[in-house]
């Protein structure tokens, strides 16, 4: 059981008022574990990218772990999610296997996508991920469609989609939210407002004061949540899940969060353009989602700091194992090139 949360305001924004719900130790420790798994995974990715161990881009989720983990902890294994280019956090939050995730980043045959997807597309369908889309906002309609399937079949699974503040300006978001609302679909729109799209502040591109305000345009609840606080994310999502599963339709959750790293590995030079102040980064780092959760767990007497550290160590070990696994996994054979275009072998002209 956790203490009642107190976070209400941050950098001038109204944020979700954490409820006094009871959260079991299991959930708290699961969240901590998954957040540590993401954190260590991302740190490792940065390290091995620096060493030239894989090619392409990679978009670290460090600083935003509470968003995906808090949300996924409120969902069932049989529920679906979809995500975006910043694609490592979502599958791990949903329970994905680190080794297969890392192998994918390395472009190896044992990766989730047999090496065909890479870092931007770390989707693990076996844990209910319907895609991590490199095209911004492109997976929002897809998640909406999974919810449509639930409704048409009278099944009780739900779906959720993670997208950025930048993505919220895409037409696909508008169309999906409207569709989901008029059809009362069991879908949760989770906007990870990490303040920027690459170098552009959402204040320069989003005409509403808050992205969650847009929910009014679709007659659905819009919830502004402290995205650094896993418990707040969890609680907000629990309510949205309940609404969805009971046939009341979609919810828009805006999680205020921050990306501690640069937009993408390899794009460090952009820091030079000073689209954000060092002091802003520092201020946000004070609210590291792992620190906040651990403090909460420890102060509420749910577990000791040592227990929390042990979870970190275990996650770290799993990440080390994942890298070893990835390094040792073979590259896909040439014959893989033509496979998976279609469900059966087909003469490709």
């Amino acid at each position: 059981m956790t203490k009642i949360g107190t976070w209400i305001r941050h950098i001038g924004e109204m944020v979700y008022f954490r409820m006094a719900t009871n959260i079991s130790k299991d959930v708290l420790m699961l969240m901590l574990e998954r957040m540590w798994r993401i954190r260590h995974f991302e740190l490792k990715v940065i390290e091995v990218y620096g060493a030239g161990e894989f090619v392409g881009a990679a978009h670290p989720y460090i600083g935003e772990e509470a968003v995906a983990v808090g949300a996924c902890a409120a969902m069932r294994d049989t529920d679906y999610i979809a995500g975006n280019h910043r694609s490592h956090g979502h599958p791990i939050a949903k329970g994905a296997n680190l080794s297969k995730a890392m192998a994918e980043i390395y472009g190896r045959i044992d990766g989730y996508c047999k090496g065909k997807g890479g870092s931007m597309h770390l989707a693990d369908f076996s844990v209910g991920i319907l895609g991590e889309s490199g095209i911004v906002a492109s997976s929002v309609p897809v998640a909406t469609g999974a919810a449509l399937a639930a409704k048409l079949q009278g099944k009780d699974f739900i779906s959720a989609v993670f997208f950025g503040d930048g993505a919220s300006n895409q037409g696909a978001c508008h169309e999906s939210m409207n569709l989901a609302s008029v059809w009362k679909l069991p879908v949760i729109f989770i906007c990870e407002n990490n303040q920027y799209a690459v170098t552009t502040s959402y204040r320069d591109t989003v005409s509403a004061d808050h992205i969650s305000d847009r929910a009014q345009a679709y007659n659905m609840p819009g919830v502004l949540v402290d995205g650094q606080d896993a418990i707040a994310m969890y609680e907000a999502t629990v309510q949205a899940v309940e609404r969805a599963r009971s046939g009341q339709g979609p919810t828009l959750i805006e999680a205020l969060t921050y990306r501690f790293e640069e937009h993408s590995l390899g794009l460090e030079k952009i820091r030079k353009s000073e689209y954000r102040e060092e002091s802003e980064i520092d201020e946000w780092r004070l609210r590291d989602p792992l620190d906040l959760l651990i403090t909460n767990i420890v102060e509420s007497g749910t577990a000791t700091r040592a227990e929390c550290d042990a979870i970190s160590d275990k996650a770290n070990a799993a990440v080390e194992e994942a890298v070893e696994f990835a390094r040792n996994s073979p590259f896909p054979d040439e014959s893989e090139l033509y496979k998976d275009m279609f469900s059966s072998e087909m003469p490709v002209v």
Partner: protein
């Protein structure tokens, strides 16, 4: 077996499959009222949960179909080719790429019915014939029925297929008639061309709305002693290359009739294949009878000049034989 309109054949294929498989559902704009015809009777028979009127949100519902398919449904989406541009990203980045990009994890049994309304004064915004675009993109099966029987048989195969399919339904064919099997087990396989008329002098490959013009042209030429082999590929992805190459092996001459705009068309592709793989069989230049490379003008004085016709096909075949 009875005579049916092409449009009715499409309806039959859809409703038979909806009867057979509860996972199949139908959605699009104004489909309950069946504004475009082929959804006639569906809402009455299958009700609200299987026949959905969508908002005007092509990106939204094209993509929703992908998501529904990914979790086990089998959606049929009705649209016009010209509206596909609005939801294009969902077709390309999701429907076409999802399976490959995720290493085969996604299975997407979704059918997009893209009606091509051209030839009747619909003007540039409503008259696209865009299958060559999707052939280039890859990852989508491309179906172009040329007869009522194929309309039904290919529709059924499309709905049963586990991959995303675009059915390009040619507006100039919707009112054509032909024998259509009643048998609910009747299907037409993908990747098998239909030799509509055997011949020995020229191979004439005809796509979609060009099929009746090609047959008519062959008839005209038969009277003049020219034997034309008319081949309807029926699906462009997969493409039955063998039948075309074998035919050219026999005739030594190739003409392709294609209602799409000529540049980077299906006709271009087929000619490039023959020029590469059956070059030594060719006894004359290959010829393309495709649409002029212009947008579709409204005026009835201009529009008919754009498309291949019986006469333009006859003329080009004669050139080939010179």
């Amino acid at each position: 077996m009875a005579e049916k309109l092409f449009m009715q054949a499409l309806s039959m294929g859809i409703s038979e499959e909806m009867r057979a498989d509860p996972r199949v559902f139908f959605m699009g704009e104004d489909v309950r009222a069946s504004v475009y015809g082929a959804a006639a009777g569906l809402h009455d028979e299958f009700g609200d949960n299987r026949v959905l009127n969508t908002p005007l949100s092509e990106a939204g519902f094209f993509g929703a179909a992908v998501g529904a398919a990914a979790v086990g449904m089998r959606p049929i989406v009705e649209t016009l080719t010209s509206f596909m541009w609005v939801g294009m990203d969902q077709l390309v980045s999701q429907a076409a790429k999802m399976r490959y990009m995720f290493g085969g994890q996604a299975t997407l049994p979704v059918v997009y019915r893209a009606v091509m309304y051209y030839g009747g004064g619909s003007a540039a915004h409503h008259s696209d014939r865009s299958y060559p675009v999707f052939m280039n993109i890859g990852g989508l099966k491309i179906v172009v029925p040329g007869t009522p029987a194929d309309a039904k048989g290919l529709m059924k195969t499309a709905i049963r297929d586990d991959d995303p399919v675009i059915m390009f339904e040619d507006g100039t064919l919707l009112g054509t008639r032909g024998e259509v099997p009643d048998d609910p087990d009747f299907t037409v396989p993908f990747g098998v061309a239909n030799v509509l008329r055997p011949g020995t002098d020229v191979t004439l490959v005809a796509i979609a709305g060009s099929v009746p013009h090609a047959v008519a042209a062959a008839e005209v030429l038969a009277k003049e002693g020219v034997s034309v082999e008319v081949i309807d590929p029926r699906t462009l992805v997969p493409l039955d290359k063998e039948t075309i190459l074998n035919s050219v092996g026999k005739t030594g001459r190739l003409v392709v009739a294609d209602p799409a705009a000529k540049v980077c068309s299906a006709a271009s592709e087929i000619m490039s294949i023959v020029g590469e793989e059956a070059f030594w069989d060719l006894q004359a230049p290959m010829q393309k009878v495709a649409s002029k490379q212009v947008h579709i003008p409204f005026s009835p004085a201009l529009e008919p000049l754009v498309y291949p016709t019986r006469d333009s096909i006859v003329e080009v075949i004669k050139k080939t034989l010179d």
